[in-house]
Amino acid sequence: MSEFLQHLVNGISLGTIYALIALGYTMVYGVLKLINFAHGDVYMVGAFGGFYLAHLLGVNDSPSLPKTLVVFVGSMLICGTLGFLIERLAYRPLRYRPRLTALITAIGISFLLEFGFQLPRWSFMPFDFPPGPTPRFFPELFPRTIWFNIGEVSISNYDALALGVAILFMVGLEFIIYRTKFGVAMRAVSFDPNIAGLMGIPVDRIISGTFILGSVLASVAALLVSISRPRIDPIMGLMPGLKAFVAAVFGGIGNVPGAMVGGLILGLSEEFVAGYMLSSFRDAIAFAILILVLLFRPEGLFGRITTEKV
């Protein structure tokens, strides 16, 4: 029983992380019909952004909650800016080119970030950047305490924070997408950017906003992971990125609630399969799901069904 509970807790927390990353893929796909393969690397930058900020603030010597907040906000700003720049500089000039061009560019940006971060430190940098290929350890942002136990499963304030923050951001995103003017505009752009323009919607600005939003969620996900699994390195975004992509496809790429549900299901199935069957299957689950989805329901769980009327 307690084993089951433990897997459930782990599965949900992993699932919310996948969901947060998957949202970035799905929103960007919605507005641009582009798989932003650099998204996993934005996640990695989020972790390193938090890492550097934490050192700057002296978190190692005196961890605290206010500093944690600064680390989160700072890393979100860094990733938001990065997402904005990636779209502005790399994708926008290719907007009207064949889609493959943008896709290859996305892979290029991904390599640029992964390998750029593996370079040895630049001498003119006041701090240790780029970090190089050796893993770093994300500091403890605030003291970890056990909140309560259910049987043998103990829930720490870290677990609670991770789940709380992830849910907060997902609810916030739902609100933005379904209740604000920006959200309606974003859904309009994802349906048809040309007609959105005819409504007076500044399409480019909405696309920028979408990249910023997705990247901010990726940085939140990265920090929530790094506080409990502190080993970070420049290619740490690869696996979570791929899996979140699978979650997005599973939920129906372009579909926001789908990405959340897809992330959760993926996280849970991964934990349960790894826990009860073979832990070495862990990474295979996502890809097994991908293959099954593509075979039997390529539009995903919540794939959009729209009909054009004549």
Binding site: R187, I195, G197, L198, G200, T306, E308, K309
Partner: protein, 237 residues
Amino acid sequence: MKALLEVQDLDVYYGGIQALRGISLKVPENQIVALIGCNGAGKTTTLRAISGMLKASRGSIRFAGEQIKGLRSHQIVARGMAHAPEGRGIFLNLTVGENLELGAYLRKDRESVAKDLETGYRLFPILFERKSQIAGTLSGGEQQMLSVARALMSRPKLLLLDEPSLGLAPQVVEKIFSVLKDIHKTGITLLLVEQNAHKALRIAHHAYVLETGSVVMQGTGAELLASPEVRKAYLGD
């Protein structure tokens, strides 16, 4: 009379294919101008170039005295033009209400937007009944009404309409045309593209006939209705 819209020598290409060859036309303020022509004549392309959906490679487009060629659609909307595009252009993933509100995207005057929303619903009561429904579930005719109502939400000076009667039952066509006349009475200038040349010429002050990307004939609605060439080619006589 002062021209609200003046298009001169417009060339538009799709890739290597030339779709418009030096189109010129004038839409005087407070008039209804019709654009008729066979399939593929370039009517839709003309409207798209005017509203900034397509880039014109040559020519000039002046709207209310200002050169708007090269501006983006959303900038042109901000200057007082609305375009109900071919195929209605409804956001099928949004609700009817959201579609209408998007029509007023650039407006800040919330109260008068609310008033115009009511006016729109009064014009087409069926939209009010369906306002929380996803627009994809509307019938074709209802979508057409939504398209016209939405275009009005920006309080345009000029409204471009691309085949508002396409595929509609006769009563609905009547309804749309009577609404267009009402819209015109409120002081909105109309540039109307229609397959239904008969009806379009009947309400138009002035009309242009397009053929393979050029204007081949123009005149008042009555003149074109009486012209043997037009009768033969477009009115099925």
